[in-house]
Symmetry: C2
Subunit: 230 residues, 2 copies
């Protein structure tokens, strides 16, 4: 059995914006809360996998050290690339302080994107389909590796901590639940809190096929620091 | 804003079986853990709503007393009725000790039901469509009442604790996320742990319409006592 705990990074140190490829850091104090919670919990991991972006990788390094577990960086699990709008503070795009030269155009594109993410590609951004393909490919490769390694070591249990992003977690959950990743409700309605965890259990069948069962339930970290959606 | 925390009852005091209308109790010690967790948390509620079945209602009564909040019983949120197979221990239906007169027939029906719950109705049971209609009707009535009450009291915030069942929670989550409740993956893949909580935030718009945003993330109770699916 393979257990993968998806951990979303902590709240970022910056104004509200759509952060994708933008390499903003998480708040140091919030990272520390994550590390403390994992240290105090009884969870053990065989491997930490992390998105290369700082808001994930820094806390993944701390967790790797603290829990004495190997850390691997994996680019497949980077957040979606939101192109030209990535990282621009919302206050520059809407409201009284909207100072950006393309404020009106970008805000209208963002509204279209939120309404219908599968049909709207932001300027110079990754499309939702490309993002879906990248994340599910990364997921499948990771699972394949874990299964191969388990078989080699004759060790059928593997516990992985995957530190990544809201969009990546949502895409993985849709994949393991075989839900329609194009459904706008999955993006508008489902909130993945900062520092929250979702646990996925994969039962490896004899033919090395995989059957996944998802547990969205809590696994012991009282880290509900969420203030809004994504 | 209306916040509804869905709490699944604790582990039941009985052998593994498909428990629906069967009025089995939860384990007393597990109920106490739930009460302790809520007492120690900073969560406050305006109302506790509970399924009438003992595995929910007893802990709801304890929580109502402990948190000093009104308790209301609501039959719409009873678990699905599994008819003749409801509550029969699985060990009577399969394996070396399969003693039930209809063991083979019932087990084969159960397997069909698990593969395709929307197309399979167990003998004398509620169909998945009937169950869906009942739960979503109960949900809509509850929300309507809460909105009306908020408007009357000029109080736009309501926090509700709804103590209910795995099937009911799954149906409510599918409804608020506008997902296809007939999709077998939603039943096979998604695990709702005993004593787990899922939080739904409804933003009430000016026209008294409702817009829901679901937070499946944890809200502070380290109660991961789950041993299997449902």
């Amino acid at each position: 059995m393979i257990e993968i705990t998806l951990l979303r990074h902590a709240k970022v140190a910056g104004p509200a914006a759509l952060y994708g490829k933008t390499n903003i850091e998480a708040q140091i104090i919030e990272n520390q809360k994550i590390v403390n919670s994992f240290s105090n919990s009884e969870q053990a991991f065989d491997l930490v996998v992390s998105s290369p972006l700082q808001r994930c990788y820094l806390v993944a390094q701390q967790l790797s050290t603290e829990l004495n577990v190997q850390l691997v960086c994996n680019e497949y699990f980077e957040e979606m690339n939101f192109g030209l709008i990535d990282g621009i503070p919302f206050e520059q795009l809407v409201g009284d302080n909207a100072s950006h030269v393309n404020a009106e155009k970008y805000w209208s594109l963002l509204e279209m994107f939120w309404q219908n993410p599968a049909q709207t590609t932001l300027p110079l951004a990754e499309s939702l389909a490309e993002f879906n393909q990248r994340v599910t490919k990364g997921w499948q490769l990771l699972i394949k590796q874990l299964i191969a390694q388990s078989a080699k070591e004759d060790n059928c249990g593997k516990k992985i901590l995957l530190v990544c992003h809201g969009g990546v977690i949502r895409m993985i959950l849709a994949h393991v639940l075989a839900l329609d990743w194009q459904n706008a409700n999955w993006y508008q309605g489902l909130s993945i809190d900062y520092a929250s965890t979702s646990k996925i259990t994969l039962t490896v069948l004899a033919n090395h096929d995989e059957k996944s069962s998802l547990r969205v339930n809590y696994i012991g970290l009282p880290l509900s620091s969420m203030t809004g959606k994504d």
